[in-house]
């Protein structure tokens, strides 16, 4: 209900604010990137062997660990022939001086729901293959996102880690006596890409400083077919329609590169 975000330092020195904007007039960013350039991504899948799937993602200095647990449970009454997925974000106070212990904040909830929508609406998980006994027992896929170091743009870090962890996940059927284990069946690979508006400029994958002074934020989740599955605008500023179109186009490009990285890195090593 507030409009000062937990995802910001609150007060950024005015001098830094002007400096970032001055750089922008010259097409430059505080960490040397181009406007459309995202930070380096490092993906370590299988980081938590005890989980059914997991991925540690570093997006620049931002660090997110996603663990996937898969357990049998009852289906929803209106979808007796479908598995279930839930997403949850923990903005644990270890990751930032601005995060506080307690029940999920509105920021954590928005974040979880945006990642959730990307996966759910792209039908990334083949839910019909997660039925054990129709109407009685299905697999529940828990996607838990644990922030470990917060330096901006959790939307993308979480979205990338989530799909990487799902891609790494094994359904533990044998543990419960339901036959052989099998790879969690995925149909699609949605990837979110987030942009921030700073003054009149729009930059991809904002870092912490940029996020702190951004007036608006737009996340676009696209899949490997070039479809758009989810969007979320945030913050108190506005976008023009042209800006939105430009952001969607760039998201499709950047999303493709990130997806290649995720699928290529599927067997990466822990750092």
């Amino acid at each position: 209900m507030s409009n000062t975000s937990k995802f910001s330092e609150g007060v950024v020195a005015e001098s830094k604010r002007s400096y970032i904007k001055r750089l922008a007039t010259q097409g430059m960013r505080i960490d040397g990137r181009n406007f459309d350039e995202i930070r380096p991504i490092k993906i370590t899948t299988g980081y938590v062997p005890r989980a059914e799937g997991s991925a540690l993602v570093e997006l620049g200095e931002t660090k997110v660990l996603v663990g996937v647990k898969i357990e049998p449970g009852e289906p929803f009454p209106d979808t007796p022939n479908m598995g279930i997925m839930t997403t949850n974000v923990e903005l644990v106070p270890l990751a930032s001086p601005t995060f506080e212990p307690g029940p999920p904040s509105e920021e954590a909830i928005e974040l979880a729901r945006v990642v959730d929508r990307g996966i759910r609406e792209s039908h990334a998980i083949d839910m019909e293959k997660l039925v054990i006994e129709e109407g009685e027992k299905v697999w529940i896929v828990f996607i838990d996102m644990h922030i470990l170091d917060y330096h901006g743009n959790l939307f993308d870090a979480c979205g990338i880690a989530a799909i990487a962890a799902l891609n790494n996940a094994i359904v533990p059927a044998s543990r419960y006596g339901f036959g052989d284990d099998f790879k969690l069946p995925l149909n699609h690979y949605p990837v979110p890409v987030t942009f921030a508006k700073i003054g009149e400029w729009i930059v991809a994958d904002p870092n912490l400083d940029e996020e702190s002074i951004a007036s608006a934020r737009l996340t676009v989740t696209t899949n490997e077919e070039g479809k758009i599955n989810a969007m979320q605008k945030g913050l108190y500023g506005t976008f023009t329609y042209d800006e939105v179109k430009k952001v969607i186009n760039r998201s499709l490009d950047i999303g493709k590169k990130v997806r290649d990285k995720i699928l290529g890195d599927a067997n990466g090593e822990e750092d």
Binding site: M1, S2, N3, I109, E110, N229, K233, Y236, V244
Partner: protein, 243 residues
């Protein structure tokens, strides 16, 4: 989005199950000043949606640590009555309403001259009394009217409107069946005078062309809804409605 159904949502004549054309809005009715206790209020009936909004403030923000020394904070609260939906909803905020409250708060902040009221809160309460798809855009429309009714200075009225995709066709303002069984929904909040976009969400499955068509359809309809807003405010105040 995306539950499969055997229902055909667009008929052979290109009409929707409620008889509308693809780019046609549901009937909308607006009324201002419905909550006497509030500083401003409005009621919006939009298809089967019945939504009430009230504004309190600018008033001293409490607890004190939320105060911003430079501007008002805008706190919207979107809430569904337990009986507003088919299956009774447990009272109190769920994750969906917390997210919607957040994005609506942000969208409203974008039009209010918040720097005129440092250290205050402008509280906007949106109550969904009956839900019928599109509650957030109807709610933001009601909130905009309530803010105007409260005399809160704004650089524009704000208009909520959604478009989406149903049976492969881009359509305006999805109803409940279209929302349940359709392929995509794109709720927006628009500043009609400048065309700025203050709220934008999307879920489903759309190509770039479908998505841009849908957004354009919603922006076009926003102008129509804007005229209804002006009318509703004129009905109450006569004369000029902006600040």
């Amino acid at each position: 989005m995306g539950m499969k159904a055997d229902i055909r949502l667009i008929d052979d004549n290109g009409l929707r199950i409620d008889g509308r054309l693809p780019n046609q809005l549901r009937p909308i009715r607006m009324e201002v000043g419905v909550v006497k206790r509030a500083d401003g209020s409005a009621y919006v009936e939009w298809g089967g949606n019945k939504i009430m909004a009230a504004v309190y403030g600018p008033r001293e923000a409490y607890p004190k640590h939320v105060q911003d020394p430079n501007r008002a904070i805008v706190r919207a609260r979107y809430n569904m009555a337990s009986f507003s939906v088919d299956e009774r909803k447990r009272p109190g905020p769920d994750r969906r309403s917390i997210e919607l409250s957040k994005v609506i708060s942000e969208a409203l902040t974008s039009v209010i001259f918040v720097e005129k009221f440092p250290r205050t809160a402008i509280d906007v309460y949106i109550e969904v009394l009956q839900a019928d798809a599109g509650t957030r855009v109807a709610g933001i429309t009601a909130a905009s009217l309530a803010l105007a009714d409260a005399g809160i200075p704004m650089r524009d009225l704000i208009v909520g409107c959604a478009a989406g995709k149903v049976d492969g066709v881009v359509v305006l303002d999805l109803n409940k069946e279209e929302d349940n069984y359709g392929e995509a929904d794109v709720p927006m909040a628009i500043l009609p005078r400048t065309g700025e976009i203050a709220l934008l969400q999307m879920d489903g499955d759309m190509t770039y062309e479908e998505l841009t068509n849908a957004m354009e359809m919603a922006m076009e309809a926003a102008r129509e809804i804007y005229r209804m807003e002006i009318e509703a405010l004129k009905g109450r105040y006569g004369g000029d409605v902006n600040e």
